[in-house]
Symmetry: C2
Subunit: 398 residues, 2 copies
């Protein structure tokens, strides 16, 4: 029969899909919409990094090797060594964004019907990768009241079944901004060893940890054969459009399987690899500057949010998101109202309703994610809007 | 248990994997290896197209929309209209290479365990996409003796089962170079209508058809809801490394499903889209020049091959490959011998054993694919090598 496959039908829409038409309509009316909904920074891509592409002498834009150019893999290994990881070029597979690394990891670690345990809330695209790979996400709740710390390890152990093959963590976390402590990671390590599970570790926000450097799963001793590091340059160098990531593992059998998936699509993007290679040569001070900028924005956003009556949020110690509980019953309805009805000096803001980060029905309805990826002035204007909006919102909950 | 998934184990290696170490070893000995094994042209990427990336004013390299930039989709629709197709921007989803279009099409059209019928020999990566998507390829043999024309439609009809959901054709064909006639495509059209099958049409080589323009599946009347066109700029503009393709369909439900898969990975490559957009503005003469160059190379390669005793090959009317039967029992062993043992004036060549293009065990053992992607001088030297090698090869078959 000529109909879309079941997985095509089951595939979730992006959580933004419902709201985007309202944002577009507001813009058509001349309203300024402050986009705090998506992790697209306004930080400039380092000019030296763009220059590597723009000044390259290219006659034929050829396929690269399926695992990425050797020169880039070697330099990227140097970057990892610089953050204390025992990684060589042989451990690295270059991918089309962190997204492709997630997909390849799901395909190579899990069989259809297998389960992956993920602390909830989690990155909104994981369920899509799960549908594409035919695997099942088993969420384990984290709570705002505990700053979205790692759920008690006993809760994670409790949901293990014969189909469980992996634990997936995102550290620093999207959407919560939580950075897992050494003690928490130790617990995850022991869980994975005890139950022979892969540890998929999404470390897209590694460089944005404001108290102390974030630990990598590859820092954990004795876990080499279990860890699959999922990485991307999107956030690190404000180069989301490059679509350049990496899958890093010391597990040779898994690296071979991942390479076979990579051979399927012949090559990762070649232009982006020039950019990525140049990025490894940025001075060490590069991250000091960007991190300080994000930290200022975080402090501003958290201070403004906490000054609003009925708003609760932890102080996230990493990434560039704040998860906040708002005094409304349903942040999705509120987000739509912001775009449709609310105006303050010709402005409004777009936020991410948190239900898109939860698999458990009903969870996250009062929470929203706000990305501090905009200049302080913009954040202030957006917070002016939010404060007023929460006062005016007819659905406000006392 | 901590082991690679079954699909990770089942995933095939690239057919080149076994031979590459021998090619590398030969190069280390100072031997010049003429690569006729892979479809990586030496034709330069149009400088105006590269300039669009290299002169772009980029401050932040942002995500593009998941379906690709509107401006690019509109101009790409213009390109399709220029080849007589009724395609609008709404019908187009921009992908990371033709590869991603194939993957999304498999995922959105077929359920795990479903079957797709493909004339054999076929593009060597299709089986990998099939493993990734959990679907089964049902090959239907085409034969050198018939120039690899479309198999009798009765043969294709005979293998239809309740699990059959799609037919996949590649036109012009990789690896055979065959261009399907209107009469053949009409038969495929009727088959798909009669049995409610999707028609996945890989048209990567559309512009390289030497007798008459290749028909697109989207030219076929009444088949709009069935056709999924899989496309790429890799070969068209000699920009394989860009990783920019498209999935084109007038079937709205399918387009929606494909877009959901696209949202999963947020965005196709942004730099490549600048390049792709500029490519749509090349003068119409661009293809005349490249096509004439490929046609000269084809004529040369076919003439040289046919002058070798025991070698048979059709005259391919499209793409840039020749499939030839060689007077050997096993072209894989011969290809290895070429790289390990054979030297002529410090040179040898690398060919693609055809078993990598067949799913049926035993088929293709005497055939090899040769890509005419190198300058005529190189092709002549490679053919000098091949002629001599076939005389000297200990395993020659009379």
């Amino acid at each position: 029969m000529l109909e879309v496959s079941q997985r095509g039908q089951a595939m979730p829409w992006s959580p933004f899909r419902k709201l985007t038409p309202y944002a577009d309509a507001a813009k058509r009316q001349g309203v300024v919409v402050h986009h705090l909904n998506i992790g697209q920074p306004d930080i400039e891509t380092p000019p030296a990094v763009l220059a590597a592409v723009q000044q390259a002498d290219i006659r034929v834009l050829e396929y690269s090797p399926s695992g990425g150019h050797d020169s880039y893999r070697r330099k990227l290994a140097g970057y990892y060594q610089g953050v204390g990881l025992d990684v060589t070029a042989d451990d690295i597979l270059i991918t089309a964004g962190g997204s492709e690394a997630i997909l390849f990891a799901f395909l190579a670690c899990l069989n259809p019907g297998d389960e992956v345990i993920i602390p909830e809330p989690f990155y909104g695209a994981y369920p899509s990768f799960a549908v594409a790979a035919g695997v099942r996400i088993v969420p384990v709740p984290a709570y705002l009241e505990q700053d979205y710390a790692l759920p008690p390890i006993a809760e994670m152990e409790r949901v293990i079944t014969p189909r469980t093959r992996a634990v997936l963590i995102c550290n620093p976390n999207n959407p919560t901004g939580y950075v897992y402590s050494r003690a928490e990671l130790e617990q995850v390590r022991e869980l994975c060893l005890r139950h022979h599970l892969f540890l998929l570790s999404d470390e897209a926000y590694r460089e944005f940890s404001y108290d102390a450097p974030a630990l990598s799963a590859l820092h954990l001793p004795g876990l080499d054969q279990h860890v699959v590091l999922l990485d991307t340059i999107s956030k690190r160098y404000s180069a989301c459009g490059a679509r350049l990531g990496a899958l890093v593992t010391k597990n040779k059998a898994l690296a071979e399987a991942a390479l076979k998936f990579a051979q399927m699509r012949v090559s990762p993007p070649a232009l982006a690899q020039l950019l990525g290679e140049a990025a490894t040569e940025l001075p060490a001070t590069y991250f000091d500057t960007t991190k300080a900028e994000y930290q200022r924005r975080r402090d501003l956003l958290v201070a403004r949010l906490r000054a609003m009556q009925g708003v609760r949020c932890p102080v996230p110690s990493g990434a560039f998101y704040v998860m906040a509980e708002l005094p409304v019953e349903d942040t999705a309805a509120f987000a739509q109202w912001l775009l449709e009805e609310f105006r303050h000096e010709g402005q409004t803001l777009m936020i991410s309703p948190a239900t898109g980060f939860y698999a458990t029905p009903g969870r996250g309805r009062r929470e929203a994610r706000l990305a501090y990826v905009r200049h302080a002035d913009v954040l202030h204007r957006a917070m002016d809007c939010l404060a007023l909006a929460l006062e005016q919102y007819p659905g406000r909950r006392e």
